[in-house]
């Protein structure tokens, strides 16, 4: 790491440190109602006990289960439909703007309808997550596959590639970095919308737990859960970025 990168990291760490320090200082004296902003120490104790008791497991399991199913549905449908659309110039002209337009709609507003359709359990969260994650996946799949450099296709054709060889050996690897970007966006959006909808109407899940703690004025524990979710999000992001970087390194 060169010195300017190091300096950037230090500033970033310093910023986070300042936020935590400000929190610590303002809550230390008891001037602030601990129901609104609990002291750092009590949040820390709640967080440690959360990890020790493992009481987060049922909620984490629900949320990750919803995320996994929603993501698989979005990824499967998105790549399949994206691939089909990319096969014809006409379909691209029709469906690409259509999907892009639908993507711009605040889909989250459909959630009350989804609760009506799928109930208050995980199914409505899965449906919401899958709907929202579908769009970046389908849009990236279409554009990735339809903008493969003409030179690669011509070269493969001149060497006698069959349609099947063309897809697996040329189209897919050429579009892969773009496909991965769509999948990464899909996963992150699914996670956000599942957490969000859990806070609106649900029986379990991390979002549900946080809202319940808030409503019970158990603010310290609520903050502990928020920190926990931030950690999960961070891990998820790191894992996906790692996979993406690897995929692009292997193919680029």
């Amino acid at each position: 790491m060169n010195s300017s990168r190091l300096a950037q990291r230090l500033v970033q760490l310093g910023f986070l440190g300042a936020v935590v320090l400000a929190w610590y200082l303002t809550t230390m004296q008891g001037h602030i109602n601990p129901l609104l902003l609990p002291p750092l120490g009590s949040v820390y104790r709640e967080f440690v006990s959360l990890l020790e008791t493992g009481q987060f497991w049922p909620d984490l399991r629900t949320t990750l289960y919803e995320l996994a199913i929603a993501f698989l549905l979005a990824a499967g449908a998105g790549t399949l439909i994206g691939y089909t659309v990319s096969r014809s110039g006409y379909a691209i002209k029709v469906f690409d703007p259509l999907f892009a337009g639908l993507y711009a709609i605040p889909t989250i507003l459909l959630f009350p309808l989804y609760v009506l359709f799928f109930g208050i359990g995980p199914a409505s969260k899965i449906a919401m997550g899958a709907t929202i994650a579908f769009f970046p996946v389908v849009l990236h799949t279409t554009s990735g596959l339809s903008y493969v450099k003409e030179a690669y296709v011509t070269a493969a054709r001149s060497m006698g590639a069959s349609p099947r060889q063309m897809f697996w050996n040329v189209m897919l690897p050429a579009a892969f970095p773009v496909l991965l970007t769509g999948l990464r966006m899909g996963l992150i959006l699914a996670f956000l919308s599942i957490l969000g909808t859990e806070t609106i109407a649900s029986f379990s899940g991390l979002g549900h737990q946080i809202v319940e703690l808030g409503e019970n004025m158990d603010t310290a524990k609520m903050f502990a859960y928020i920190v926990f979710v931030i950690c999960i999000a961070f891990l998820l992001n790191a894992a996906v970025s790692f996979a993406e970087a690897r995929g692009q390194r292997d193919l680029a």
Partner: protein, 285 residues
């Protein structure tokens, strides 16, 4: 004495884009006829957009002509014939997600070469173009000249009788292309392949080719064919010879007006008065 079947025969070929009567219809190539003997090296030269690359694609079966017919070894062309024809393209058409060696192997996989032969043949071909030390490099790790060598290797490894090259050195600097041109002359003389290549460089055309086909401006027609009577492989001394210079000038005379037409210029005042164009532009400011 019987006439040998031409390796490539093009008869009255026209290629147009857009429907007849459409004002945007572009005729890229008009009524081109050309016959190329086995083992012959022919350069196609002409102004931009004159249909040289189009003709090359038609020869390789990558496109079908609007009218006319192309034959390879006496057989009508109906699509790519990877067993007979290999291509080298202008920009790097190497697959960047595969190493140089894997690029060569994939070409053989497409063409249907048995798996057991692929590795050995790929290495031999890379050795022939001087890339033995770069087998496991990715295309992005290579210089422009090396990329074109690798593309040439990928075409040579297919062991076709015909090699079609679409401005293979266009993206390279003058020195690199000269060295590559020399290497190519030696290499190709040895393989005895029939070669057609498109170029913008007059010197390159004369240095490498047995015959140079000169195209008119769009709609492209073959205006003239010049023979370069010089044995292969050609040495560096040919590069600086009077003969090459004379042929180069002859080509330039043929091309001169066509290039002006392409640029949308009539015979300009500068050309008429013999003043260099830069001086005219200076005067306009």
């Amino acid at each position: 004495m019987t006439e040998t079947t031409p390796a490539i025969r093009v008869e009255g070929v026209t290629q147009a884009y857009g429907a007849e009567g459409d004002p945007r219809r572009v005729v890229a190539l008009q009524n081109a006829s050309l016959s190329i003997a086995p083992g012959e090296l022919v350069a196609l030269i002409g102004p931009s957009g004159c249909g040289k690359s189009t003709l090359l694609h038609l020869m390789g079966g990558l496109a079908a002509p609007t009218t006319g017919q192309v034959w390879i070894d006496g057989e009508p062309v109906r699509g790519p014939s990877p067993q007979k024809v290999a291509f080298v393209f202008q920009e790097s058409a190497l697959f960047p997600w595969r190493t140089v060696l894997e690029n060569l192997k994939l070409g053989m996989d497409f063409q249907g070469v048995p798996k057991a032969q692929r590795d050995r043949r790929a290495r031999e071909s890379l050795h022939a173009v001087g890339l033995s030390d770069f087998t496991d490099h990715y295309p992005n790790q290579l210089s422009g000249g090396m990329k074109q060598r690798a593309q040439l290797a990928r075409a040579l490894v297919l062991k076709t009788d015909i090699l079609l090259m679409d401005e293979p050195f266009a993206a390279l600097d003058e020195q690199t292309r000269m060295v590559l041109g020399e290497d190519l002359s030696v290499l190709l003389a040895r393989t005895g392949k029939t070669i057609v290549f498109v170029t913008h460089s007059l010197v390159e055309a004369v240095f490498l080719a047995d015959r140079v086909a000169v195209f008119t401006a769009r709609p492209g027609q073959i205006k003239n064919i010049i023979s370069v009577d010089e044995a292969h492989p050609r040495s560096r001394s040919f590069m600086t010879s009077d003969k090459l210079g004379r042929l180069r000038n002859e080509l330039y005379e043929l091309l001169h007006d066509e290039i002006r037409k392409t640029m949308g210029l009539s015979k300009s005042e500068a050309a008429a008065s013999g003043k260099p164009l830069a001086a005219v532009q200076e005067g306009e400011k």
